[in-house]
């Protein structure tokens, strides 16, 4: 099945547009695409009529042009008929928004649609989903544009079994300045499933990190998924819901009770270097860090801070997550000390985490980052930049990014997420250095880089 018509359509039919119900999902989808996206959009309703001074097509076959994507938002019972018409017209694929299938017990109806589509090699997303948000191409979410917060176009591909989680996560991505290459709510996943999306996103040039929200796999599907991640050239992040032990029945062997369903899931993700996020905050941090640094580290971090307290807090959180803060080579310390401003040379604490104090200036931070990067014990620099002291300029983000680029070691920054510090944040982010809005967030980014446990 070729999925390009789903995610890169030139023409789209929205089936189910209502002449009387302005907030009908089909109306919202038609309006936003018709008005704001390059995709040429056609409204369809079997009863015909006039909508926004345009005549509705009574069937998809009435549209003269070839249709790449059909968005189906009609009552569940009518869906098989509509899918049949789409197949006959040679439509490239569909998003079935409608609910009323497996999620409400109508397994047979869903199977009927899935069987028809399979026979015709007709790909569809859903049913019971929000569908596709492909920035600059198409948006099948039935949520009015003014209600949702859309991240900018970026390099994270996100696939979610739940539409609600997807939209909520998009708000979080937008808040952290993380861009999306493609977001797909796969709903009941009767046709397009996680494994198909992994294939598509792996070859998609705009995607650098692939993230999933998964509730569960079918029989044997977890193995198929993990085997695909092994072949995948991009980092994969996963957030799993449904971790409770409810599913584990009284078991007759030690092994079965030791290896509950979630435990198995989680350990296998680790085995195959998939970064499992414990919650939505981790998911956000992991996506940002891995979109900048796809390669893994063992977990030896050098921390630079201007406040002893921040260093201690970071060290505590690092320990919780199994991240090491190794000692620094004495030669590195000597070099840094020699180059520090005379004002701080004797008050700065030059053990990891480095506390350069509130009296430090840009040059001290840059020097420390440069030489810490050259220390063989350190794999990644964490710069906790509290921009309150007068010695720190607005250029510090751009300057440190330059160091990271020259030295070739990952750098992660913490800068408070306030408008007045945006110039510092952008100095990092526009140069592909991830910035967290909390110390914890910065540590989670470092944790993401450790997704491959050293063997």
């Amino acid at each position: 099945m070729d999925l390009k018509y789903l995610f890169r359509p030139s023409t789209m039919a929205v089936i189910g547009v209502s002449t009387s119900h302005d907030n009908h999902p089909a109306n919202v989808i038609y309006n936003k695409n018709h008005l704001r996206y390059p995709v040429k959009t056609f409204p369809v309703n079997p009863r015909g009529g006039i909508f926004n001074r345009e005549t509705l097509y009574q069937g998809i076959e009435d549209i003269q042009e070839n249709i790449d994507l059909a968005v189906i938002a009609v009552r569940a019972d009518f869906v098989p008929g509509v899918v049949e018409q789409c197949i006959q017209k040679g439509v490239g694929g569909a998003v079935i928004i409608s609910g009323g299938f497996a999620e409400s017990g109508n397994l047979k109806l869903q199977q009927r649609v899935a069987d028809m589509a399979k026979e015709a090699s007709f790909p569809f997303v859903g049913p019971n989903c929000l569908g596709i948000y492909a920035p600059d191409y198409v948006d099948t979410f039935f949520l009015p544009g003014e209600r949702i917060i859309r991240p900018d176009k970026g390099n994270v591909g996100f696939v979610s079994q739940s539409g609600g989680v997807l939209v909520d996560q998009m708000v979080k991505f937008a808040g952290q300045g993380i861009g999306i290459s493609l977001a797909v709510s796969i709903g009941n996943k009767a046709c397009i499933r996680e494994t198909d999306m992994l294939d598509w996103l792996d070859q998609d040039l705009e995607t650098r990190v692939i993230a999933f929200y998964v509730e569960g796999f079918e029989k044997g599907e977890g193995r198929e998924f993990i085997k695909k991640t092994e072949q995948c050239s991009k980092p994969v992040v996963i957030l799993k819901a449904g971790k409770s032990k409810k599913g584990i029945e009284a078991v007759s062997s030690h092994t079965a009770s030791l290896a509950g369903d979630y435990r198995v899931f989680s350990e296998i993700m680790k085995q195959y270097c998939v970064a499992e996020a414990d919650n939505e905050y981790e998911l956000t941090s992991f996506c940002e860090a891995l979109s900048c640094y796809p390669k893994g580290i063992e977990g030896n971090i050098g921390i630079i801070t201007l406040s002893g307290g921040h260093g201690v807090i970071a060290a505590d959180v690092c320990e919780q997550h199994g991240i090491t803060i190794p000692g620094i080579d004495p030669a590195t310390i000597d070099t840094i000390k020699e180059k520090l401003s005379p004002e701080i040379r004797n008050i700065a604490s030059l053990v990891n985490p480095l506390d350069l104090t509130g009296s430090s200036v840009d040059c001290d931070i840059v020097t420390s980052a440069r030489h810490l990067s050259r220390d063989a014990n350190i794999e990644c620099i964490m710069a906790l930049l509290i921009p309150y002291s007068p010695g720190i300029s607005t250029d510090i983000g751009a300057k440190l990014s330059q160091v990271a680029r020259n030295e070739g070691k990952p750098m992660i920054a913490y800068v408070p997420n306030e408008d007045k510090y945006k110039i510092i944040i952008e100095g990092f982010e526009l140069n592909n250095i991830p910035v967290a809005s909390s110390v914890d967030g910065a540590v989670l980014m470092a944790k993401a880089l450790m997704r491959c446990r050293p063997c």
């Binding site: 029989k219 193995r223 030690h254 092994t255 369903d261 085995q271």
Partner: protein
């Protein structure tokens, strides 16, 4: 030939739903894994002769289709050195529910580990490895990986245990032979892959590991309901 015998044992055990210990161990032996020297008998004379020839104390276990968990039913006696003790315990074990024969084995010492397998709904065969013994569920110091395993997987499983120092040697005590352990785990995972359609779960618990070898002291194979 090897597969035929395994198949035969599995078919024989299918109605019971699990493979009795002597049969399960026979399957493990066919895979090239070490099991203790043993004799399966109801005769005290045979058992006594085995004890006499044995350099170490022996263990006596009741073999019963009605006893899945032997410890709970007091169906295992360890550290037997005298023939009187052996005789008394054999008499007692024979009276346990469904007891068909007594398995008398040389008693093997070492670090107790558990090696297990489970046929997971989402991922198929997975392997569990950790600190073993009867308290395994209390400590739950285990690692899980998808089968088949490679030697790096085995090392990372061992490294991930809280009690990993016990395996690698601790306070002057020697650890386990990682080469034997790796051989056992990797080949066990291949066996489980091969028997994916028959097996529901396997417990090798305990496996006694020393710096020389790993010996499977107890084995239980739960079969899929056909």
């Amino acid at each position: 030939m090897l597969n035929k015998t395994v198949k035969k044992i599995i078919e024989k055990s299918r109605s019971l739903g699990w493979v009795l210990e002597p049969d399960a161990k026979a399957i493990m032996k066919l895979q090239g894994f070490d099991i203790p020297d043993s004799v399966l008998t109801n005769s005290f004379k045979t058992a006594g002769q085995f004890l006499k020839n044995c350099k170490s104390p022996v263990v006596a276990k009741a073999v019963s289709k009605k006893i899945l968990h032997k410890t709970e039913q007091s169906a295992v006696v360890t550290g037997i050195i005298s023939s009187d003790h052996l005789k008394n315990e054999m008499e007692r074990l024979k009276k346990l529910v469904g007891c068909e024969a007594i398995l008398v084995e040389e008693m093997v010492q070492g670090i107790e580990v558990i090696i297990g397998a489970k046929n997971d709904f989402q991922f198929g065969p997975v392997i569990v490895f950790g600190i073993g013994g009867t308290s395994v569920e209390i400590y739950n110091d285990t690692a899980v990986r998808m089968a088949p395993l490679n030697s790096n997987d085995v090392l990372s499983m061992a490294e991930s245990l809280k009690a990993k120092q016990i395996l690698f040697g601790y306070r002057g005590k020697t650890g386990v032979n990682m080469e034997s352990l790796t051989h056992l785990l990797v080949n066990f995972s291949l066996f489980v892959m091969e028997q994916e359609n028959n097996i529901e779960s396997v417990d090798l618990n305990p496996v006694m590991c020393t710096k020389e070898q790993c010996v499977i002291v107890d084995a239980r194979i739960m079969l899929q309901s056909s």
